[in-house]
Symmetry: C2
Subunit: 591 residues, 2 copies
């Protein structure tokens, strides 16, 4: 069975050495002293590695079952969920007024990485609740907040998001679910939603579904979509739980992975629903949830890669196979451990250098969210809006690839289910798909975010990279970082210019390169993260740290990324510059 060690030291490094959170002026950040975050992370780490991680394989093997409308979750999930609730983890970064702990979202993200890494399918139950609660928090009336939030913050009630229907996923304008206004101000919801994660189960006493539907007579397409709160059990005026509402689970899907999460077909038959936010502004309200969810999904890509990597390292050190070509390393044994072989190291370094920079990228993104929400910083808001599709799309594409690499280190033992390496890839695969497939992320980035506010935010990002390079170009030890970062950033800017110039004439010229641009930008972001981590490591070493090995390892890992991963930008640029013609040349029937 695979193991999971909570990466608390790595998280502390990013929070304090790199982002220096407790010195930030963002409201609430001064609480995030090193000792405090250490205590929180250690406690979460214990729970995730000791309770959630052992249930990961159980969830995969047992899956969820539907019998007579009741969904049974895997053995141990309910007890573990109770433990998570009791620890107060579900409301860590939720407002105190609704029973949360009021911590900044960056701390929730740091803790969330460990939850997802230990057990992705399990963590989705609370993750979706968090998203649904955020939506009610942002768009609900005072009464709605009072009715739903305390129980959702504690996960006494869980939440879901209902977008997809059998015939529409990305294109939600095609939606058919209807919401008929009733005399009492409520709506009568009818329709079918599919792929609803955590859609039905008995781990919570109620489930609060957020459902997109159309009010008859409203505008056509996406502009006629509204968002509704539809509880599994109606809630009485005194707040107690009433009769069952008209929503039921018609089936649960057989999936490639995340078997521990119940992915439901939900049938709404005259279900009682309540408008959340304004009529016909459902997408806006849903996007509060979606943006948070997209960053959370990016984190799933990262955390799956971390968990798989940890096990690959253990196996590479343990499994004896072949000899080091430069000289025997384990003369007493029948062979040397796998880790002596350069190609095994190449794979492990790919994984390690991705995971560590990806973690910094996500935490930096969370700090931008906090700056935006807590300090009302419009620039930070613009920047995280630009970065969201990159965090989601790039980190899940790459994160998945890393789980495949980790699995490969096990050879045949990675293909059988016994060691759990197959599960990491099967679970990680969904992250490239849900919350907007990665093609949609790339489209969002290139078609919308790049040009937002006159291109202000991408310019700010380029300026940030440029300033970093100027400031550090003569710093000893930074040569291996500054030059490659400059080159990669130049590739990215060239691609952006190409889009501007050719996209005017033909939007397909930009859209044909959207996936490549998203990956380029991801690499530049991780290159920037490695450069910052290198700078922080050099500072720690200069200050005479007692943990020099840790910082030296960081520098070596960063140099690997800059030398061996970052050159991908030139390939992506070449592809982008080939324009739309090669991509669009064939008629549909020539494929």
């Amino acid at each position: 069975m695979p193991s999971y060690t909570a990466p608390t030291k790595e998280l502390q490094f990013v929070l304090h050495d790199v982002l220096k959170v407790s010195k930030s002026a963002v409201p609430g950040y001064s609480d995030l002293e090193r000792d405090f975050t250490a205590a929180v992370l250690e406690e979460a780490g214990k729970l995730t590695s000791e309770v959630l991680a052992p249930l990961n394989v159980v969830g995969d093997q047992e899956g969820c079952t539907l019998e007579n409308g009741v969904v049974r979750v895997p053995t141990g999930f309910k007890e573990a969920f109770d433990q998570v609730r009791e620890g107060g983890w579900t409301g860590l970064d939720m407002p105190e007024e609704f029973g949360g702990q009021g911590m900044p979202s960056i701390l929730g993200t740091a803790v969330g990485e460990m939850f997802s890494g230990a057990n992705q399918a399990f963590t989705m139950y609370q993750g979706l609740t968090h998203g649904a609660a955020s939506s009610i928090l942002a768009h609900g009336t005072e009464q709605q907040k009072a009715t739903y939030l305390p129980n959702m913050v504690s996960c006494e009630w869980t939440g879901t998001m209902n977008l997809t229907e059998p015939h529409c996923g990305t294109d939600l304008g095609l939606m058919r679910t209807k919401a008929e206004p009733q005399d009492d101000g409520s709506y009568n919801i009818t329709g079918q939603k599919i792929f609803i994660s955590a859609g039905e189960h008995e781990m919570s006493s109620n489930i609060i579904h957020l459902v997109l539907a159309k009010i008859p007579g409203g505008p056509d397409g996406i502009k006629g979509v509204s968002l509704f709160i539809v509880p599994k059990f109606n809630i009485n005026d005194d707040g107690t739980i009433g009769a069952r509402n008209g929503v039921s689970c018609g089936a649960i899907e057989k999936k490639m992975g995340i078997h521990g999460n119940s992915t439901c077909v939900l049938n709404y038959d005259d279900a009682k629903g309540f408008l959340l936010g304004d009529a016909h502004k459902g997408m806006r309200a849903m996007f509060t949830m979606m943006n948070e969810a997209r960053i959370g999904v990016g984190m799933q890509g990262l955390s799956a890669a971390e968990a798989a990597y940890q096990n690959a390292v253990l196996y590479a050190n343990d499994r004896l196979q072949g000899r080091d070509v430069t000289g025997v390393k384990n003369p007493e044994g029948p062979a040397d451990p796998l880790i002596v072989h350069p190609d095994i190291r190449r794979s492990l370094m790919d994984q390690k250098s991705f995971v560590e920079a990806g973690r910094a990228f996500i935490l930096w993104g969370s700090s931008l969210l906090d700056q935006s929400h807590r300090a009302d910083d419009k620039d930070a808001d613009g920047l995280i809006s630009l970065m969201t599709p990159v965090i989601k799309g790039f980190l899940t594409d790459e994160g998945y690839d890393m789980t495949v690499k980790a699995q490969q280190i096990y050879g045949g033992h990675g293909y059988i289910e016994e060691h759990g390496m197959s599960q990491f890839t099967r679970d990680a695969r969904i992250a490239m798909i849900y919350e907007g497939a990665n093609g949609v992320q790339a489209l969002d980035l290139v078609g919308r975010k790049l040009a937002a506010d006159g291109g202000k935010h991408v310019m700010a990002f380029f300026a940030m990279v440029k300033d970093f390079c100027s400031e550090n170009k003569d710093v000893e030890g930074m040569e291996a970082f500054v030059e490659p970062l400059k080159a990669a950033s130049k590739d990215l800017q060239t691609a952006g210019m190409f889009f501007m110039q050719s996209g005017m004439k033909d939007p397909n010229a930009a859209l044909s390169g959207s996936n490549d641009f998203m990956h380029m930008m991801g690499h530049v972001c991780l290159g920037l993260m490695w450069s910052r981590m290198a700078k922080a490591s050099l500072e720690a070493l200069a200050s005479g740290t007692s943990d020099a090995a840790f910082y030296e390892t960081k520098l070596a890992t960063g140099r690997y990324y800059m030398a061996r991963r970052l050159p991908a930008t030139s390939m992506h640029l070449a592809r982008i510059q080939s324009g739309a013609e090669p991509v669009m040349a064939l008629a549909a029937d020539q494929f």
Copy 2:
């Protein structure tokens, strides 16, 4: 359920337009007239698309089960296997003297692509038999050939290869299975083998296991390994089937994919075995089978990509989602089909341009095998020996990626098992692992094959590319091929030079770049294949073909590969040139 259309037209194009097989001087090739191969491929295509493809999902869902030592294969497999046998497909390229049809291996490969594409798990039963029979053909005594081959060629008896043990996969020198010589000239085999594909089942009346084991007192390590024939049922002197031999199935593995194939733990307890080939030369004998098997596995990567691609195209044309940004394409419908979107096309073109060139690469490789075996051409033998790790490693790495891309086109519908897209990726995943994990292929290429015969074969390959470029540099329509091919080939040569120069001082400098080199070489090979296919297409167009659309599509697909896929070589070169330092910098405990 996914469908499979046999790509007979594509196969005919490569065989006749590109490789011009019937005009080749290789013995047996003059039989391969266009009409004859068309008839064979059509017949095989019918069988694969109508009989084998519908059983693919059945195999995945039911899997194999072990009860009281008996392995039950999925519903319909036995009947389909009978049909395959009756059609004479199992001995297509086997010698007529043993009941085969004596066709060149290139025809077996062309047919094999369709078998694997339709049902990989099913096809492995006959594929392993073919490999085992080839080994007996090459290394067996006349009596062994007479005893085993007729029934193996017809697949009345199936075959297996037994290498792996729990503690050793790649490093077979660690093997513990013992073969004690007996007075009657046979050996007593004792030990445990794992991951034995098609290891036990009841679709054939006997199973002929080829088993690597050590004769006590022989040399240590890999030099003390011998190969044995161990039948499941002993064979009486009159050729009839006798008593059960001491080999039994201890368990079947639960795997990520290829559920329809029984992957067995085989326990050998005083099993009666017969030496195949010379004592202590087991690896040599096994490699006859392995080299054939490696090309077959490369084909699995390709054929999985083809099957997944076919379904992705159908879905992209069928699924209505969003609108073409350059103008509505399906005004009567609620939305345009997915295929209007540039990023969907980018993905489909990646798949299409890979599959078509990969097919040409494999068939060209098979033609080299035929040249080597049938015309005793040492140069062809050296070249296919160089190409084998590229065919296996590159085509399975890329083939797997393509199945992931095809799955992605389905969005959430690709993640649930209902549409079969998950199965393509889960099945394709094994091809990167078995018959030598792809890291071992890269090591074989860089550590052994590049320098073989003084580097003669890689030089011959470079010369072949150079000659092609010189001959075609002024041919109208070839500009988009010749220049990129030259540039990519130059990158590959530069990498080879880097290995020669730095590898002298430090073997790790070459081995750190082995995976990148394998991928670079794969790209250059596919670039060469596209250039040849372009040339053939231009010739067909110039000769006034009635099927101009087919050849125009080929040219456009090829231009896509050259413009958008081939530039990967510069990234791989940059990684290689960073040398061993970034890869080897960390101590084992720093990971």
